[in-house]
């Protein structure tokens, strides 16, 4: 497993754990459960895998290629979800004749965007590494 594959696994695991934690805390804490999204900060722990080890190459062109593709997919998905959610909010406001959007909802939206972006990025990268490994066998 390359260093970047470990980073991708870290991103994916942290995102999944964070979403599980937020979902578990929501019944008790309500909107305050969004504070658990702060655990997304543990994604930064992936940097420990990128420490240099003598002359051994840690990241190469294949890793960079997969990283670029995964990042693009993550950002695209996050934008897609953002637009669809905003459209849903506008539609809901129109049908319910309620023009007020709670600010708490916007806060949730931002956090969910981060979780989706890094979650999809990690998932796509992991999937590419696995498919390449399988194809090479």
């Amino acid at each position: 497993m390359t260093a970047m594959e470990k980073v991708a696994w870290t991103e994916l695991s942290v995102c999944v754990l964070t979403v599980v934690m937020v979902t578990a805390l929501y019944p008790w804490l309500g909107n305050s459960a969004s504070g658990a999204f702060g655990f997304l900060g543990f994604i930064a722990c992936g940097i420990f895998f990128l420490r240099g080890r003598g002359k051994t190459v840690v990241i190469d062109e294949r890793d960079r290629e997969i990283e670029q593709l995964a990042t693009r997919r993550g950002i695209e998905t996050a934008w897609m979800v953002l637009f669809m959610t905003l459209i849903a909010i506008v539609l809901w406001s129109s049908f319910a004749n309620d023009e007020v959007v709670p600010t708490g909802l916007l806060s949730w939206l931002i956090w969910v965007q981060f979780a989706i972006c890094y979650g999809v990025k990690g998932f796509v990268a992991v999937r590419f590494y696995r498919s390449q490994r399988r194809a090479a066998q």
Binding site: V58, E61, E65, A136
Partner: protein, 73 residues
């Protein structure tokens, strides 16, 4: 990264490496500046290298790029 519809590159790196004494995947990876996993993907035909990497690999075996890589139609 090759898509399903694109032709992939086939190569004879594994055969050439086996012919060279004590040339492990790690040794080749260190020579050309990539990770061992990239050499594994390259040998298995799962990864299409950049031109720079193809040239570096060709230089290690003292061959031309065309001798090392060809289109798998």
């Amino acid at each position: 990264m090759p898509r399903n519809s694109e032709p992939t590159l086939d190569n004879c790196i594994k055969e050439l490496r086996s012919a060279e004494e004590s040339m492990t995947q790690q040794a080749l990876a260190d020579h050309v500046g990539v990770t061992r996993q990239t050499i594994i993907a390259l040998e298995g035909g799962a990864y299409t290298p950049s031109l720079a990497l193809a040239l570096r690999v060709a230089k290690v075996f003292d061959k031309s790029v065309e001798e090392l890589f060809w289109l798998d139609d």
